[in-house]
Amino acid sequence: MKKLIENFSDFPMLENDQHHYIRYRMGRLKHQLWLYNRKRNEATIDTHDKFVLDNLQKGKTCIFGSAGYYLEDFISDLVVIEQWPIVKKFYPKAQIINDRSEISKHNGRIFDNFVVVNNRGDIWCELSVVEKHIGSYVKAMKTGCLFFYSFRDTQIVGWNRLKHDHYNYFYDFALHIEKTYHLNLLWHDIKFAEKTKDGAGNYDIMENPDTTNGNIKFVFEYKSKTKNIK
């Protein structure tokens, strides 16, 4: 009889490149766009990518934990930082870190734009832990840095989905981040599924909007509030 398992940690996982690559890919959806675009003359990006690109300011851009190399063709001074060493195998320019505190230790306070798009490594935790992650990112931001942050509500732990108003829960979090880190909220987009019966009296089984980029999206500006988000 096979050993019964309940949690990832109950049994040692395989340790090989193929395993690490599959796990990385499953959690970094935009890697698929990189695979698709790198061999074509036409690059496909989605409307959220376009939104980020249209609003980046001049200077150095960090994309953390989001397979950011897929936007390399479009961002002139890009630093891609990941936590999975396997990324080095196919994108040698990536910085690999273990702990988020290494971002500022390795780079200093140099970034004009900091982008995190639905980073699987940032979620699957309580918002209090997300707050700590953001605290690490802030240490690498120059004054005026734009911070694009998005994630999925369904992968945040430690709240009661049947009792809390979802919109307020995440909007209040953004306001808390504003106060905690001098990150001024410039823009937000918080959307949930809208469910109505179809003609046959059935509901759809769709998820919340934008499972790829996340249905909770914020743009902050560090220590100033001067930019207009388009």
Partner: protein, 180 residues
């Protein structure tokens, strides 16, 4: 935007997930197929130990249940039990989940329902019931209060799910429901 020689095509965000039906098999391979998810054993044990001979299984992810092939029926009318492991129903609005449970119970009086806690109340509706603050208890209380003419037994193990409990292989909250 940086200047690039590539033409750019901008599309609406689209689902880049490609593994839905095979998700469990992919996760099995993380361990060289040497383990079995306890919740799958629980489902099999429930069916076997309760001497249930005919099961109508509404699935999505391939679970590879270790039960005789002739256990599974093609139609719900033949079944002694409806087993629901498809996650899509967890993405119904809460009121829709309750309606769907009654639809199933009209066809078969025994239901084993697996719900993915992370999808519940996906459309952010106010639930006008007194519910416990603890989410897992609140799920059970919501079902029990909404299905007053049914027996609702929570078969789930309680734990905080930090994304490491194979929830997308087999949903985590398990309930046995039958009409009184």
């Amino acid at each position: 935007m940086n200047s690039t020689k590539k033409l750019i095509k901008v599309v609406e965000p689209f689902a880049l997930y490609k593994w839905a039906k095979n998700f469990k098999r992919i996760q099995d391979r993380f361990y060289g197929n040497k383990f079995k998810l306890r919740r799958i054993q629980q489902v099999e044990d429930f069916i076997t130990l309760n001497n249930i001979k005919k099961v109508y299984h509404i699935d999505e992810v391939r679970l590879d249940l270790d039960l005789p092939t002739n256990t599974f029926t093609n139609t719900v009318e033949e079944a002694d039990l409806i087993l629901v492991t498809a996650q899509g129903y967890s993405r119904f609005p809460c009121i829709g989940i309750i309606e769907q449970i009654y639809k199933w119970l009209e066809k078969c009086n025994k239901l084993y329902l697996c719900l993915n806690r992370h999808y519940l109340n996906i459309d952010n509706q106010k639930i006008d019931l007194a519910l416990p603050d603890e989410f897992q208890k609140a799920i059970t209380s919501w079902l029990q209060q909404s299905l007053k003419d049914c027996t609702v037994i929570d078969l789930s193990k309680n734990y905080l799910d930090y994304g490491e409990n194979f929830t997308w292989s087999l949903p985590d909250r398990h309930f046995y429901i039958e009409k009184k």
